[in-house]
Amino acid sequence: MKSKLRISHHTLRLSVIAATLVLSTTMSTSANAADNGKYRIGVVTFLSGAAAGPFGVPAANSARLIVEALNNGKVPAPYAKKGINGLEIEMVLLDENGGATKQTEEFRNLVQRQKVDAVIGYISSGDCLAIAPAAEELGVPTIFFDCGTSKVFEVVKNPKFLFRTGLDAVVDNIAAARYVAETRPNIKTIAGIEQNYSWGQESWADFSQAFGRIKPEIKVVSEQWPKLGQGQYGAEISALSVANPDLIHSSFWGGDMEALMLQGGARGLFDKKTVVLTGGETGMEHFKGQVANGTILGGRGPFGAFSPKNALNDWFRPAFVAQFKESPTYPAYKMAQAILGLKSAAEKSAKPGVMPSTDQVIQGLAGLSYEAPSGTVKMARSNGHQAVQSISFGEYQFDAKSGKATLSNVKTYAGECVMPPDGTVNADWIKAGFPGAKCN
């Protein structure tokens, strides 16, 4: 019995150390704060981990491109003035990987030691919910450029310093529900496969409730909740195959999304079924023939392959392709519009060549309407702290001969059609039948 106990303690000791090491993250800080007359922006996005490839790196590349172009005065009007208000922009780029606790520490470090004038960043819902109250507490203009969770402005009810220049998950999923209802009126049964964390759970709740409100006769036949980053979906694909729904909804992203499409396609899961990938646009260049034509893709707004033609996009898209040898996907667009929003706000009332104050930036950005490569961005929700934009969905089409993927049957929904009004809880708005929605 004694020896058993020894072994169990030994195993336990090894387990604890192994688990601690796996879960621990590298911490790196640098403190070189200096008032050098430059406008210093902290940019936080995934540079490592599973979210780096699909989201973080395109966003970081976009930040590099925009900052360099702004500093050189190469961005077309209305952003031709160099830097921010004539001051050179200095970017402090940080990795978002490592979890909410680490990010909160890094955020404090950025503000208190590195003395950044503003922070732009955050993709992960968990990080956003942790940073939101810290941003208000430390009083630094903070712009969430991505961050899909709908809870941000529930955590911070009366934001002063916190802004989000992109849309949240409820918009994706109400628009997806409207798109499916319009283009696939015969669908009777639906199923969802979502990553088991706040993003996946909120996405499925929003989609299933919205679709159920639009088409009350639909039936949910299966819900699958694999772990984030699982990579192997054999059992989930079998469960979905056995349930045999007319439509499969997924908010998967990155490698998980691509693996699901690969494994499901090889097993015929998507034959004669409609598939909706709300964040599918980031995979368009990788899918090739692995994803069936007709798969419904979203781009989390008018970004990437859904982006409109305008002077800013005519500059941004080719410049990005030329520098990074790949097309900008939605995270790149969202980062660009966050930086341009900050510039617009800072230059709204500050005297040219003078460092804009925090008050000038936050007052300038609240309620602002400004131009971006994705079109006009209106800061019109949550007391002017949340962006309102249109959102598009379309069907994936791959041409094997040319090796190129395009979108067909694209439909665009105005922000006023798919965003709950201020002061309304998303679920209540959906349950009530989208009162006040303006859909053309």
């Binding site: 020896s3 106990l5 590298t26 981990g49 599973a50 088991n196 990579g231 056995v242 045999n244």
Partner: protein
């Protein structure tokens, strides 16, 4: 009935994958008493090597696509042997016999280095080697349920590897020598066994098995940064359930976890996340040394 078939086959496929991932790790621990935290990196390197070579093979129109099925293990053997030999001879041989906790920290540091090295070599964008996955077609069960034959092939590969490992340990002279090292390293040295060579061979075999798991998985996934870290947690859970250092234990642990997870996905998907660790908790509560682990008194 279809659901029952799905549970059993899904469980067997997942168990095979878990066994492939965990086998190398448990062999290394069994012989060297090194809980190799860098095992996930071997998996990632195998996956990246295979994805690179397979996509090159298909992009350069090299002829018979079935040759790609041989590229996968070939990649794993070459990549695993090189990296395994390099690490064992370049680092671990200087640390033989050190405290197990120290070795966990050393191999954890190795994992961090190898993770960054893979990013330096392959970048952060995903790699795909999907062609072999579809090559073998599907097998249908009932009206809607179909399995990729590639996945079914993994069951066979896992069984073969398990049997070869068992036979090598129990039916060959080298295997008997290895068991002598496992049983008592000092006595084995006294009897003239070249323990350092045994350790080097074991580590290389473990690294090849880790890389093989990655190479065989590559066709079904998007090979991207971080895949090795995910794997190490699962492999660790499986070998702890089975008993650290036991091949049979790894097989039993993989089967238990595979079937439990498959059952959860089909019957109660909301508990899927919990089920692997639930099984681990139950097994360790009843048998703290794992299913096949042996209770040994500590030598003072």
């Amino acid at each position: 009935m279809t659901t029952l078939i799905a549970i059993l086959i899904d469980g067997a496929i997942y168990a095979s994958w878990l066994f492939l991932v965990a086998a190398g790790m448990t062999i290394i621990y069994g012989v060297m008493r090194v809980l190799n935290m860098a095992h996930g990196s071997f998996y990632a390197i195998g996956a990246y090597s295979a994805a690179s070579l397979v996509s090159w093979y298909f992009s350069s129109d090299q002829g018979n696509p079935y040759w790609s099925l041989l590229i996968l293990p070939a990649c794993a053997i070459v990549a695993g042997a090189i990296i395994g030999l390099f690490i064992e001879q370049g680092l671990l041989r200087f640390l033989h016999g050190r405290d197990e906790i120290l070795m966990v920290i050393v191999t954890y540091a190795l994992m961090l280095i190898l993770e960054d090295a893979t990013k330096l070599i392959w970048g952060v964008n995903p790699y795909f080697a999907y062609q072999p996955y579809k090559l073998l077609g599907q097998t249908g069960f009932g009206e809607h349920l179909r399995f990729a034959n590639y996945d079914l092939m993994l069951i066979g590969i896992a069984i073969v590897i398990g049997l070869v490992a068992w036979a090598a340990l129990n039916r060959t002279n080298k295997g008997r020598l290895l068991r002598a090292v496992i049983h008592d390293r000092e006595i084995a040295i006294a009897m003239g066994v070249n323990v350092n060579a045994m350790f080097a061979a074991t580590f290389v075999i473990g690294a090849i098995l880790g890389a093989l798991a990655g190479a065989l998985t590559a066709p079904a996934i998007s090979v991207s940064p971080g895949i090795g870290v995910e794997v190490i947690v699962l492999a660790f859970a499986v070998i702890v359930i089975g008993g650290l250092g036991s091949i049979g234990g790894a097989a039993a642990g993989a089967l238990l976890v595979g079937l439990a997870r498959s059952f959860a996905v089909h019957i109660a998907p909301e508990i899927e996340l919990f089920v692997i660790y639930g099984v681990m908790f139950l097994v360790l509560a009843i048998r703290p040394q794992g299913l096949f682990g042996q209770t040994l008194a500590r030598r003072i």
